[in-house]
């Protein structure tokens, strides 16, 4: 069982040296489930650092919870780039995207993993999760734009890949068009997002307003949507996403006095915060069918 939900075993794994903890394919089982919440705290647009468990207040369906752990920059990242490779991106747009994705790779730490998933009508893993960013860089260089747009399918596959182990999961979804080819329905993938630990940032470079799916995906995972960035600002947008994600706290708690199933509304606050401080986190999580 997972969905924003990990196990006591996992908590141990976080503190172990990277590479010792559970990796992809390993199943976590325990009677105690923990909920993970990624939280970004900003003051005047700048990240607030140095906060501890005592500074946070988490309410699960209105019930105040005891925070077991707060992590900040200790846990390596799983970054999945899910990039639109439909025909509309051919030409200058593709070059801009290559540059932006490459710039994000420059910001990775040695322990971070990164993967590249592309989607036209076809969802394809160009490079699996790896600490060798140069492999992903080479895959970025090979990307070709052609075909339709399975945005919903591609975003889903990237989200699942990002949370395939205990590392912090970040998915960056880029698209310049509307979905024309997905089998999965947007609502179904939003439902999966509510059950996921991954934080999804979406970047939409189309001419119209961003599709509701991209907005919802970012909103329900605690990420953010960047709409219609100018081509010249695509690179800073990608580097900003990574930098911002690094500045997030990871809160963990074991839910108490709340029903196990259904939608859990989350409220995260910083105690004694100034009026200029803002807190960004996912609005809740789903459990059960």
């Amino acid at each position: 069982m997972r969905l924003g939900v990990l196990l006591a075993l996992c908590l141990v794994a976080w503190t172990a040296p990277h590479g010792v903890g559970p990796r992809a394919g390993q199943t976590f089982r325990s009677g105690i489930e923990a909920v993970r919440v990624d939280v970004l705290v900003l003051d005047g647009g700048q990240p607030v650092t140095g906060l501890t468990a005592r500074d946070f207040e988490v309410r699960d369906n209105g019930v105040l919870q005891q925070i077991d752990r707060v992590s900040f920059e200790q846990i390596p990242l799983n970054v999945v780039l899910a990039l639109d490779m439909s025909g509309s991106l051919e030409g200058e747009g593709l070059e801009q995207l290559r540059g932006a994705a490459g710039a994000l790779l420059d910001g990775l730490h040695p322990d971070d993993q990164v993967a590249l998933v592309t989607f036209s009508h076809m969802v394809a893993q160009q490079s699996g999760l790896t600490r060798r960013a140069e492999l992903v860089r080479a895959a970025i260089g090979r990307m070709k734009a052609e075909g339709g747009t399975a945005l919903v399918d591609g975003a889903f596959a990237g989200m699942m890949l990002a949370q395939s182990d205990a590392d912090r999961a970040l998915e960056v979804v880029f698209s310049d068009g509307v979905d024309t080819a997905s089998w999965l329905m947007p609502d179904a993938v939003i439902d999966a997002a509510k059950r996921s630990d991954a934080v999804v940032y979406t970047v939409y470079a189309g001419k119209a307003p961003a599709p509701p799916f991209l907005r919802d995906l970012a909103a329900f995972t605690g990420g953010r949507v960047f709409e219609n960035p100018r081509e010249s600002s695509l690179r800073p947008t990608f580097t900003r996403i990574l930098a911002e994600f690094r500045q997030r706290y990871l809160l963990t708690y074991s839910p108490r006095d709340v029903a196990p199933g259904g939608w859990h509304r989350l409220r995260v606050n910083v105690r004694n915060r100034r009026a200029t401080v803002t807190v960004r986190a996912r609005p809740g999580y789903m459990r059960g069918s």
Binding site: L3, G25, Q125, S289
Partner: protein, 387 residues
């Protein structure tokens, strides 16, 4: 046969030499072009007649009608069929050419459920060919070719996403071929395509461009719910005319599922899945069944159906994505990851991949090349019989 020979003589004796670019639009020049044109080739005839304005075409058509009137007893049908082929090839082989037309000439008005949302010029070759075929329909011997023409041209429109021209095309076809199940199936395809997110997004984009001039002809691109309703009605008519049409049943099942009528969808799809012979039809029936059961929250039946689809097309991504998503609903992350890995392990090269889901919204468009080739061959034979 005598009538055919007379028509051939008519076609071969009027006009002389190859048509040249900028040749005035006259009946003689048109007949010469029809005679010279080789179906499927972009020859001088295509370029000459393709450069004529809408007004030129209307004038030539009026002369042709007079000729028909004066030639009572002479079979005009083969000539008219060959003429329709010329205009069809102009539309297919020179789709980006400049179409000259004065204000007030036929154009297409896009509207959403009756609300104007934009306008675009229509291809004059299609209605012109339809007029010629209408005139040829008096000859019973030409009916199979006319039926083939509608099948081939609609498939071409489906393959090339030519929706605006397809609506009047199929509306006309339903009037003159009301018992042709293909016409009704293709009409279902058109409205299913209207309901597609791609078309709906186009409509949203066109909304700010509401037309300011009164349209001469109108195409009503409907909202998703209306499009789905019409698509279902057209597929139903195709099934009534030909109960063995599994393609219509599969698409109707899909439409019914999208309209929230899952039990009726499941009934259609079970019939189709049981009777389907080809892997593509079996796959789509199983995939859509999975979707219908999924919508009913019957996760076991949905999982079984998706597994059947995955077994039929191991390289298709859709069933594995659906299975992965189902596993997330059960909270089974390991299975969800396993299924998504099935997709991610597939070759990233498009040439190695295949998923009938990607082309199922093309309707008969997947047979476009074969049908158009069959049509051109039929017209070639007709022209040879005239020579």
């Amino acid at each position: 046969m005598r009538r055919v020979a007379a028509a051939a003589a008519l076609a071969l004796t009027i006009g002389a030499g190859l048509p040249r670019a900028q040749e005035p639009a006259t009946l003689e020049a048109w007949l010469d072009a029809v005679r010279q044109h080789t179906p499927g080739e972009r020859d001088d005839a295509v370029d000459t007649v393709g450069a004529w304005s809408r007004a030129d075409l209307a004038a030539v058509h009026a002369q042709l009608r007079r000729l028909e009137g004066s030639r009572r007893g002479v079979a005009m049908a083969p000539l008219l069929l060959a003429g329709a082929m010329l205009h069809t090839d102009i539309a297919m082989l020179t789709p980006g050419r400049k179409i000259v037309g004065k204000a007030g000439d036929p154009s297409v008005q896009l509207s959403v459920d009756g609300r104007d949302s934009g306008r675009r010029a229509g291809e004059p070759g299609w209605p012109y060919a339809r007029q010629l075929l209408d005139a040829a329909a008096g000859d019973l011997a030409s009916h199979p070719t006319i039926s083939l023409w509608y099948r081939a041209t609609t498939a071409y429109m489906a393959a090339n996403d030519i929706l605006a021209d397809a609506e009047p095309h199929l509306e006309h076809a339903r009037r003159i071929l009301p018992l042709d199940a293909d016409v009704w199936f293709n009409s279902g395809w058109l409205f299913e395509a209207y309901a597609h997110p791609r078309t709906q997004a186009l409509l949203e984009a066109l909304a700010p461009l509401a037309g300011t001039r009164p349209p001469v002809s109108r195409i009503n691109v409907v909202t998703r719910s209306t499009a789905l309703q019409k698509a279902e009605a057209f597929y139903t008519r195709a099934i009534e005319l030909d109960p063995s049409r599994l393609d219509a049943r599969i698409h109707r099942g899909r439409i019914r599922s999208l309209r929230g009528r899952q039990q009726e969808a499941i009934a259609d799809l079970h019939v189709a899945a049981g009777a389907a012979r080809g892997p593509s039809s079996k796959y789509l029936a199983a995939l859509f069944l999975g979707g219908a059961y999924d919508a009913l929250d019957d996760l076991v039946a949905a999982r079984n159906a998706y597994h059947r689809a995955a077994a039929i097309y191991p390289l298709a991504q859709s069933p594995h994505l659906a299975l992965s998503r189902l596993a997330t609903r059960r909270g089974d992350l390991p299975e969800s990851l396993r299924e998504v890995q099935q997709v991610l392990r597939l070759s990233p090269d498009a040439i190695d991949r295949g998923d009938p889901w990607w082309t199922c919204d093309m309707g008969n468009g997947i047979y476009s090349d074969a049908l158009v080739a069959e049509l051109r061959a039929a017209i070639r034979r007709i022209k040879e019989s005239l020579a």
